[in-house]
Structures are given as structure tokens and as C-alpha cells.
């Protein structure tokens, strides 16, 4: 039994350079890196020193606030560098990989008999826990809390994002194991959303509540689905996972091995042959970037999709949570009378001499230009058209900007993550940094109310 959800508000951003559905094996990376910014709000305490050897799946560091929460190494090798920033904050951990990979094989719990506590401590110890994120606050889940439900979105609507149906092919066994494990951690349901007409492996998985979802972006964002299925109330906790991370959890639960392998979509108009690559978390992006080739020298390389990803460089590494790498042209050039002449080659949500409404399916080659300067909020009613959540986006953003905790709480900040505001940020006429505003609001709320 599945339930249908149809999202009406939103906007699909069609870009050129979608990944072709073939998988190549990426060249093995020499150095792997974990970027600590990927783990928002975690203060790391190192377990090994620079220069020491480590096995794949062996803990690198733990969470200062929760000693049980281990973060493990994706590969075996030597921890060659701990890159530190201001006030000796750890930024990046770099591991020089061995030629022969050695894995830690953990003793797996019996999925049929083990209780929630056993599963929980297993995932915490073996490095599977960081894949579980929670709302409120959009951070790694607090193990001491019990979620009222777990949400997985196996429907991608973000521009050029990896197609979950494709990357999850033949992974039913792992997914089923992960679902069985996770179901012991919540008394509630595990909600999984798939595309309406998709041939998702989730169609045959037991123990989940399957939702068939359709509509434009942000229908595929888990925040949209939570809001439509079972919104987060004050005090409640829900967990979210990406479907590809479910596969890793499943393998960890079945074999005891932390297998950092992942299928990544390399996409974007700059890429000559956009397609999928099999690689590992933390691998050098250059190991597969140049296999596909790039069309120009200067471009923006993004860990993730163009709306929510983080900026990286050709020396960068694949992020912990990312399964898409996008390359688009940099837009640091002037455009003569760009503000008043008719626009045919860019996407717009208005029709103010912008003509993207004529061809809703046309694919665009957007660059990173902001197409205008930062301004105060002026226009109203535009965000609501692309924001399907039952929340007033403009009012919530303003509450976050003025740090009004009561208002933030009442207007539903608990329910959202920065990514839910990626589309309003995209269309924002005042070019305000919505995701940053929401992130700062969430951090403040968490700090004040814990």
C-alpha cells in the first residue's frame, strides 16, 4: 500500500549536463580526506595521531559531546595530515591510502533478535551513526532521543542530482537490512518516498510506509515530504537518511564492514561526458573529474547539487554525504544592460521580460553569477509559489534575521533545514542568502534551547 502525495508549488530547474546512466570505475585515489564541515555542530576529539596508521572502518575521532559516537576512516592507510584553521579548529583529515585495503570487520548484531539499544551502540561504534540526521536543527541525530518517525527520500528533483533509482539498483538486500535495523530505533514508522512512476527498489522493501510523490522540485526534498506526511512539532524528533547511506548502513549491519564505496553522478554543463562513477567517500574529485573531461579551465566545482552543495576545487574531495558532483561555469563577468534587456538564456520565476516560462522543459546553462546585487527584502508573494511547506517563508526568514526566538519557534523553524530554502534563495529578487539565514537561525535556536 502506498499513499500518493502531489506537490504543486515549486520550480524545476532544468540544466544541461545531466549524468548519463552508465557507471565507470573511478581511478583509485591516493589521498582521502574527511572535511569536518560536513558534520555540522560536531566538535571532534582525535583518537589517533598524525602519522599513525589506520584501518578502513577504524575510528578517527569521536564527538566531544558524545564519546560513543565514532567517525571512522573510509580507507586504510596513514593519517598524513590534520589541517587546522583558526584557534586550532580541525578542518580536514587527510589519509594516504594503502595499496592493499584492510578493513575492520565488526561483530554484527543479529538483526532478528537484537534490540534497539544493541543496534544503536553498534552503529555508534562502527561509524554508521553520522549518516542519520535529525530534525529539528538538521544535524547528526542525537542518540539519546527517540524519533517519532524516520524519513527517507528516494526521489530526487534537485537539478542534475543523482537518480536514486539508478544508483540503488540491486541493493535491495542492504536496504532491507538497514530498514530492519532502523525500525528498532523508533516506535514510529519509516516513511520512504519514491517517484510516482519510478521502479525504485523500495517498492519491494518490507517494514516501510511507502509514499509515491510527484511534482516539481522541491518535491524530492525530505523536508517537503515530512511537512506533508507528518510535520515536526516542538519537542518532537524525526530522523532523515539519504537512500544511498541506507545501503552503507545495510552493508555495515550485514557484513560488519564499513564500505565507503559510493556511486556518484558527475554532472554539469562544464563536464564533457557527464556520467556516474564508482568511488569512495573522501576520494579526490580529480580522480574522476578528468576522466570525463572539462570544457573550460575556470569553473565552479560543487560537492552536491547546484542548489545545496558546497563549493570545492579540483583539489577537493568527495563530501561525506554527497552523491553528486556538479561543475558549472563561473559567472564573474559583467553583462551590459543585463537588468533591462530581455532574457532568454536564464531561468526566472517571473515574466518580467524573462522568457523561461515559454519553454518549461528547455535545459539551461546557468553560471554562478548572482544576476544582481544584494538588497533588502522588497518583493512579496514570490517565495510562496515555490515553497510547498505550510510555513510562511518570508516571515520565518525575517524572524531568523532579527533573532526572535519565540517567533522562529512558532513559525516552524523546527520543521525545516537550510536546503528547504534553496529554491526560495534561487528565485530571490533581493539575492538574500536564505540558507545561511536559516542555518544561523537553527544554530541559535539549538544553542538557546538545546
Amino acid at each position: 500500500m502506498s499513499k500518493d502525495i502531489r506537490i504543486r508549488k515549486g520550480l524545476n530547474i532544468n540544466l544541461v549536463g545531466a549524468a548519463e546512466q552508465t557507471i565507470s570505475k573511478a581511478v583509485t585515489s591516493n589521498v582521502y580526506a574527511l572535511n569536518l564541515d560536513d558534520f555540522h555542530g560536531i566538535t571532534p576529539k582525535m583518537l589517533i595521531k598524525q602519522g599513525e596508521d589506520i584501518k578502513a572502518g577504524e575510528p578517527l575521532f569521536y564527538n566531544k559531546n558524545n564519546e560513543d559516537m565514532h567517525f571512522v576512516s573510509p580507507v586504510s592507510g596513514e593519517l598524513v595530515k590534520i589541517v587546522r584553521g583558526a584557534r586550532r579548529r580541525i578542518l580536514t583529515l587527510k589519509i594516504l591510502a594503502d595499496k592493499e585495503q584492510n578493513y575492520v570487520i565488526n561483530k554484527v548484531p543479529d538483526l532478528d533478535t537484537a534490540d534497539g539499544e544493541a543496534i544503536k551502540s553498534y552503529l555508534l561504534q562502527c561509524g554508521g551513526w553520522p549518516f542519520i540526521k535529525q530534525r529539528p536543527y538538521d544535524v547528526i541525530a542525537d542518540p539519546s532521543a527517540t524519533p517519532k518517525a524516520i524519513f527517507v527520500s528516494a526521489y530526487a528533483t534537485a537539478p542534475l542530482a543523482a537518480d536514486p533509482d539508478f544508483v540503488l539498483k540491486d541493493k535491495e538486500q542492504e536496504i532491507q537490512a538497514a530498514i530492519m535495523g532502523l525500525s528498532k530505533l523508533t516506535p514510529g514508522k519509516i516513511h520512504v518516498s519514491v517517484g510516482k512512476s519510478s521502479r525504485s527498489p523500495f517498492n519491494d522493501i518490507k517494514g516501510i510506509e511507502l509514499h509515491k510523490i510527484s511534482g516539481p522540485h522541491p518535491a524530492g526534498l525530505v523536508g517537503t515530504q515530512i511537512n506533508k506526511i507528518d510535520p515536526v512539532n516542538k519537542g518532537e524528533v524525526v530522523w532523515t537518511l539519504s537512500p544511498q547511506d541506507l545501503v552503507m548502513l545495510g552493508e555495515l549491519l550485514l557484513t560488519g564492514k564499513f564500505n565507503a564505496e559510493r556511486i556518484v553522478a558527475l554532472a554539469g554543463s562544464v563536464i564533457k561526458e557527464p556520467k556516474y562513477y564508482k568511488t569512495k567517500i573522501g576520494a579526490e574529485i580529480s580522480t574522476f573529474l578528468y576522466a570525463s573531461g572539462v570544457k573550460e579551465d575556470r569553473f565552479r566545482l560543487i560537492n552536491g547539487d547546484v542548489l545545496t552543495g558546497t563549493k570545492t576545487s579540483t583539489e577537493g574531495h568527495l563530501g561525506f554525504y554527497n552523491n553528486t558532483v556538479t561543475a558549472i561555469p563561473e559567472g564573474d563577468d559583467y553583462e551590459f544592460f543585463g537588468w533591462n534587456k530581455p532574457v532568454f538564456n536564464k531561468i526566472s520565476s517571473t515574466r518580467a521580460l524573462t522568457f523561461s516560462w515559454l519553454q518549461p522543459n528547455k535545459k539551461y546553462d546557468l553560471d554562478t553569477n548572482t544576476n544582481g546585487e544584494h538588497r533588502a527584502f522588497v518583493v512579496t508573494g514570490r517565495y510562496e509559489e515555490v515553497f510547498p511547506l505550510d510555513i510562511y517563508p518570508l516571515q520565518l526568514l525575517k524572524a531568523c534575521m532579527v533573532k526572535d526566538l519565540d517567533e522562529m519557534e512558532q513559525l516552524g523553524l523546527y520543521e525545516v533545514a537550510p536546503e528547504d530554502f534553496s529554491l526560495t534563495e534561487f528565485i530571490c529578487i533581493s539575492k538574500q542568502p536564505h540558507q545561511q539565514i536559516i542555518r544561523e537561525g537553527l544554530d541559535l535556536l539549538q544553542k538557546e534551547l538545546g
Binding site: 540544466l15 542525537d142 539519546s144 532521543a145 527517540t146 537539478p159 516506535p187 514510529g188 512539532n233 519537542g235 565552479r300 547546484v306 556538479t326 558549472i328 563561473e330 559567472g331 563577468d333 559583467y334 551590459f336 544592460f337 543585463g338 537588468w339 533591462n340 531561468i347 526566472s348 520565476s349 517571473t350 515574466r351 518580467a352 521580460l353 524573462t354 553560471d367 554562478t368 553569477n369 548572482t370 544576476n371 544582481g372 546585487e373 544584494h374 538588497r375 533588502a376 527584502f377 522588497v378 518583493v379 512579496t380 508573494g381 514570490r382 510562511y392 516571515q395 512558532q410 513559525l411 534553496s422 534563495e425 534561487f426 530571490c428 533581493s430 539575492k431 536564505h434 540558507q435 545561511q436
Partner: protein, 414 residues
């Protein structure tokens, strides 16, 4: 050119005059700014494009106003043509010449003074020049009588921009519509220049008391005095009537409004609900007259018996609804709130019109009043959303944290 300007921009970066330079630079070229956080790509429109769209919608009204200035002027001298021909009597060089010599200075003064103040504040406060005044500067000459003295306009614009907008923090922060603040200032400071039968026709003031005296009263003015007017319905709709520069042609205002709604720049909700509000109030007044509750000698009789839907054709109601009520900054910001906000603008406009015999026009007062109430309307709309969330909260399933249990056990044993 592009390179030279880029070098200049780098040279002035961080200097005091940078905002002034950037304002001019960004007019020529969309800046080379790229995304830093969040979305790496952005949609095509910015505030300049938005404001530009509104100005495009206003240009037909401005041009029509120029021809109409001449038409009203010559018609007041020679009498209205018996058989009106658009090209022979209206779209003539003579008419346009009168218009351009009287109205272009208004436009130049409005933009000159307003933008000068905007630039000054931007430089002092070190922020970029915001585009809000582009529309305000265009609206101002369209909502004043044709012969408004330029010194008067200068003072009013300075007042409106400083007190109406900059003290609140500039574009996006103001509570009252700046263009209407300017109009209100003119009205209360110089009432003799804003009403009566001398101000709506070019040179009427100068010729007053001479043998060549001319005059022209607006339809609302005639109605307020209980006298007749000689304009047909078609005149009202097309706009061949005396009035403020840009407000007369309902046809062009409707076209501008449709353009703004189609381009998704202005809110159709506000426009529709304002029209409904005006019609409702008009119907109520018509009903009172029909019911015979109002004696014919009442000073309100003429205005109250005026057919309800014709309120939309005369005075500044249509112009106000399309171009002023829809200002997103000072209007209601929630979609639901916009319905209430618009409705009361239409409703109150007609009400003030009828009950204000001294000055039979209420649109600007109604919009300013609703500007003040817009945050309150939004507050209650948003409260509704909050209440819904609180209601949901009652059925929340909150599980105790495992650490809580441990702590409570500890306290029990201790």
C-alpha cells in the same frame, strides 16, 4: 569600456564614494558578483528588473498625460471639440508640446531630487543605492496636478524620501508608500494647489482673474459641489478628462495592470480585492440613495448617487489600485492578508471620496491608512498559521530522552 569601469570599481572599492559609483556602474553592467553561500545559481531577475517592469507599465500613462495636458489646456481656451477625433484633437504636436514643457520638468525634478537624496544617504550610510526610488520617482509626477510648482515638488520629494523612507532604513523598510507620502505632504501643506477648479488645467492659475481666465474641474470636484459635468462615459474610460497627470486614462491603467499581473510583478490579489471593495462601497451608497434615505438637497447626494462602478473610472482610484496599493513593501505581505488589505483600500477610497466634501478624492488617504494597518493584518494571518501549529503540538509524540530516564533514576536512588 567594461575593463576600464572594472578597474575604476576596484580603485574605488571601500572608499566613501563607492556606492555612488557602483549605482551608476550597475546601471550599465550587471555586476560580476558570483554566489558565495547556498544556491550556486540564481534566477535571472533582480530588483532593478522588477522596478524597470513597473516603470514600463507607467510609461503609457505618462505619455497620455502629456497629450492630455495640452488637450485640456486648449479645450479650456477654445472649448471642447464637437466631434472628437483622436489624431486631429488629441495626439497633436501642440498638445504634446504643452505636455512636455509642463510635465517633463516634474519628472526631472522628481528623479533629480529623490535620487540625489538616495545617493547621499547611501554614501553616508555606506550601503548600495537601492532601486526603490526608480518607481517612486515616476509615480510622483503622475499623481500631482499639471501645474504643480517645481519648488513645491522639490520640498515634497525631499520630505517624502527622508521622512517617508530613509529614516526607516531605506527601500524595503518603509511603512508608508513614499510616493503617497509626497502626495499627502503636498495636499496638507499646499491645499490650494491640490484642489479646486484651477489646478487641473495648464495656465489656469496664472490666468485667473484676467479676461482670458480658464478653468477645469474634475468630475469628482463637480460632483462634490453638486454641479453637472459634461464628460461622457467614454471620455472617463479613455481619459480625456481633467485630473492629475497620469491618473485619467482608465484604459491605459488597466493595460498597465494586466502587464504587471502577467509579468508576476504586482499582486493580482490586491488589484481584484480593491476593485471588489470599491464596488461594494459604491453599491451601498447607491442602495442608500435608492432606498430614499437621503434627501436630494444633501451635499452628499450627487456623489452617493454616482453609479457605483463609475467610481473606478474617475479620479485616481484605478491608478492607485494598480500602481500604489500593490507596492509590496508597504502592502500586506501574506497572500491572505492581501485580500483584506485590498478590499479595505477600495472600500475606504470610495467612502472617503463621498464624505470628504473639501477634497473629493480618497484613494491616497485610504492607501496610506491601510499601509499602516498592513502589518496588523499580516500579524493576524500569520497568527492563524501559528495557531494551527500549536493545535498540532497538542498531539505531538515526544519520547523521553534516554539520558533523562537515567538522570531521573539517579535522583530517585539518591
Amino acid at each position: 569600456m567594461k575593463e576600464k569601469l572594472h578597474q575604476l570599481k576596484l580603485k574605488y572599492q571601500g572608499k566613501k564614494m563607492a556606492p555612488a559609483f557602483n549605482a551608476l556602474h550597475t546601471f550599465l553592467y550587471t555586476p560580476n558578483e558570483t554566489t558565495h553561500s547556498g544556491s550556486h545559481v540564481r534566477a535571472a531577475d533582480d530588483l532593478k528588473r522588477t522596478m524597470n517592469t513597473v516603470i514600463m507599465a507607467l510609461v503609457p500613462c505618462l505619455l497620455f498625460g502629456m497629450f492630455n495636458a495640452g488637450y485640456q489646456h486648449y479645450s479650456a481656451i477654445n472649448g471642447f471639440p464637437e466631434s472628437f477625433d483622436l489624431f486631429e484633437h488629441f495626439l497633436t504636436w501642440d498638445n504634446f508640446l504643452v505636455g512636455i514643457t509642463t510635465i517633463l520638468p516634474l519628472v526631472i525634478v522628481s528623479y533629480g531630487v529623490g535620487l540625489a537624496i538616495e545617493f547621499l544617504f547611501a554614501v553616508i550610510k555606506g550601503h548600495e543605492v537601492e532601486e526603490g526610488y526608480l518607481v517612486t520617482g515616476m509615480l510622483v509626477p503622475l499623481i500631482v496636478p499639471v501645474d504643480t510648482p517645481l519648488w513645491m515638488l522639490t520640498i515634497a520629494v525631499a520630505f517624502g524620501v527622508v521622512i517617508g523612507k530613509e529614516v526607516f532604513g531605506g527601500t524595503g523598510m518603509n511603512i508608508l508608500n513614499p510616493a503617497l507620502t509626497i502626495r499627502a505632504f503636498l495636499f496638507f501643506a499646499y491645499p490650494t494647489w491640490m484642489s479646486g477648479d484651477k489646478v487641473w488645467v495648464h495656465e489656469a492659475v496664472e490666468r485667473a482673474g484676467t479676461a482670458d481666465a480658464i478653468s477645469g474641474e474634475t468630475i469628482l470636484g463637480s460632483l462634490a459641489q453638486g454641479s453637472d459635468y459634461s464628460y461622457s462615459l467614454a471620455d472617463m474610460f479613455y481619459g480625456f478628462i481633467p485630473g492629475s497627470v497620469g491618473e485619467t486614462s482608465t484604459l491605459l491603467i488597466i493595460l498597465g495592470g494586466l502587464f504587471l499581473v502577467f509579468s508576476k510583478i504586482a499582486s493580482w490579489r490586491i488589484m481584484v480585492s480593491s476593485v471588489v471593495g470599491a464596488l461594494v462601497m459604491g453599491l451601498i451608497f447607491n442602495g442608500i440613495v435608492d432606498a430614499g434615505w437621503l434627501p436630494e438637497y444633501s451635499k452628499f447626494y450627487a456623489l452617493m448617487s454616482f453609479p457605483y462602478w463609475q467610481h473606478l473610472l474617475v479620479g485616481g482610484l484605478a491608478f492607485g489600485i494598480v500602481f500604489m496599493a500593490t507596492d509590496p513593501v508597504t502592502g500586506a505581505q501574506t497572500n491572505k492578508g492581501k485580500w483584506y488589505y485590498g478590499f479595505f483600500i477600495g472600500f475606504l477610497s470610495v467612502m472617503i471620496r463621498v464624505f470628504n466634501p473639501g477634497y473629493p478624492e480618497g484613494v491616497f488617504l485610504a492607501i496610506l491608512l491601510m499601509n499602516v494597518f498592513a502589518p496588523t493584518i499580516d500579524h493576524y494571518v500569520v497568527r492563524g498559521n501559528i495557531r494551527k501549529r500549536l493545535k498540532r503540538f497538542k498531539t505531538a509524540t515526544i519520547y523521553p530522552k534516554t539520558s533523562d530516564e537515567v538522570d531521573s533514576l539517579k535522583t530517585e536512588t539518591a
